[in-house]
Amino acid sequence: MKFVCMKCESFMAFQKVENPAEQSLGVSFACPTCGAKVAMVTNAGETAMVQALGVKIGGRDTAAAPMELIRENLKEADGVLPPAIQATTQQEMLKEEMAKVAPAAGQTLPAGSCPFSSMVAKMGIAAPAGAQALEWTKEAKERIEKVPSFMRPMIEMGVENYARKNGITTISPEVMDASKNDMGEIVWSKAAESRLDNIPSFIRPMARKEIERIAKEKGMTEITDALMEETKSKFIGMGY
């Protein structure tokens, strides 16, 4: 904001700033030619605006101290504890609903019952009750170990479901490949897998997904060495 002396046609010069009242600044200007004076008095809101800018009207004699704005304006804890939380209608309703789904006092949930069992069953990824234990070959176990741990149970269940459906009792890498086809998934040739192994391990899962996405776009069901060569440019510099 600037003040103009209309009589002398000149800007008025800053004189001083003072605190005429609480939460108020008084900023005085004077015309350098005729000496006419004017004072601007700020209200609390306008004072807050100046304070929020972190500036001192009239300039500083010394530079601002580090983090001066925060340290000068942060209110100290006043030692008053927050009021106790009062029970609300919503909290009472929630208690009633929880009581309906929780077992009655003295009862326990059936052993092995899973809080997600109904959802898992709907999605068809749970093993049926009393299912026969299947044997995994050493090569199949090594292959499943390469899958990220949080995905492993899902993949294992999918393979085992396929095996049971087809009367297979021993799971080998070939069974794992066949189960992927059954789920509409893409198969990797040995040569393609070998090239994928050249990509750093922490990138490999993402690279696998990206290559499979490209294959699906092309309508391919198998990832070949030729496709890997074609997509090479995406991963140059990663040892692939």
């Binding site: 809101g45 304070q51 580090p66 304006n73 942060l74 927050p82 092995g112 997600f116 709907k122 899962p205």
Partner: protein, 312 residues
């Protein structure tokens, strides 16, 4: 009318000198930010339109991953009213105030951390401002803007490779443009979302808004991508899409595709991750999520260095 003309004519003739020195101080403040930020090679923000999606968790783990990769890292906790980065990184203490700046506390792998939390004396203490702010909170936004300026300008960050700012929740409003305004050389933003439809709706808006104000999007992180049942270890998607008969696991691929940004990774909901953040102890190096964040860092670096990356 005549007076207006006269005023206009007067203003054309006379020159203003800033002897109240308000403009000079504002310019000096901006210069100080630029000088301090000039020692930092890359500045990134982590944002989301939605609260509770895991921005701070992502920020903390990205900082650890960058530091593990050998970089000098600083973390700025811009969530002034809900600071939690110090807790997640296991950092406590206070700024050491010197005439030339404030030395921040140091966390794991030498990560420098700046947060309002270091000014709060007890865990129940909220951030409250005294003086004129108490009477006129309408200027609070401008005040907080200058608090962020002080974090940028007054902290002795030193020479850093990466400064990562954890923004508070909010689709638009103030914090992204404030940061963008102070850091015209901001290298980009990482956006965090969960697969929830509600979250994705809001996150989309925040991405569009950030791009509108010139913030480059470096990628999207999908958090809470799934969970392992604590009883039978079956993987269970936390969010699904589709009707009763054909529910399928939901994801953030649609945002990545529609808004053309890389999906950097999918972080599962894992009790170990939550425990690590609550205790302020980094995840073990052998944990699969550690590798996920390491992978994200590689992608982000590739994107920043324009070496080609997983851009769909």
């Amino acid at each position: 009318m005549a007076e207006e003309k006269t005023l206009k004519e007067i203003l054309k003739k006379i020159q203003f000198s800033d002897n109240a020195q308000v403009m000079k101080q504002l310019v000096d403040q901006s210069i100080q930010v630029k000088v301090r930020m000039g020692h930092i090679r890359r500045k990134i923000v982590v944002m989301s339109g939605k609260g509770g999606v895991g921005k701070s968790t992502t920020t903390a783990n990205l900082a650890l991953a960058f530091a593990r990769a050998g970089h000098k890292v600083g973390v700025l906790d811009v969530d002034l009213n809900g600071p939690c980065i110090p807790k997640m990184l296991g950092v406590s203490g206070a700024f050491e105030i010197r005439p030339d700046g404030a030395i921040p506390p140091i966390g794991p792998y030498g990560i420098k951390v700046a947060s309002m939390d270091f000014f709060l004396t007890e865990k129940n203490t909220p951030v409250r401002w005294k003086g004129a702010m108490e009477l006129s909170p309408i200027w609070l936004g401008m005040f907080e803007m200058n608090v962020i300026r002080e974090f940028l300008a007054d902290i002795l960050w030193g020479d850093l490779d990466y400064l990562i700012a954890d923004l508070p929740p909010g689709a638009s409003a103030d914090k992204p443009p404030v940061i963008a305004g102070f850091l015209p050389e901001l290298d980009g933003a990482i956006v965090v979302s969960t697969p929830s439809e509600v979250a994705k709706i809001v996150v989309r808006k925040s991405i569009v808004y950030a791009r509108d104000i010139g913030i480059r999007m470096l990628g999207l992180v999908e958090n809470m991508s799934g969970a392992l049942c604590p009883s039978c270890q079956a993987p269970v998607p936390l969010f699904t899409e589709g009707g009763e008969g054909g529910a399928t696991p939901a994801g953030c691929e649609d945002i990545a595709r529609d808004l053309d940004l890389p999906l950097l990774g999918k972080i599962p909901f894992d009790v170990q991750i939550a425990r690590a953040c609550d205790r302020g102890i980094p995840l073990p190096l052998s944990h699969p999520t550690t590798a996920l964040f390491d992978g994200m860092v590689t992608q982000i670096e590739c994107s920043l260095n324009k070496k080609g990356a997983f851009v769909s």
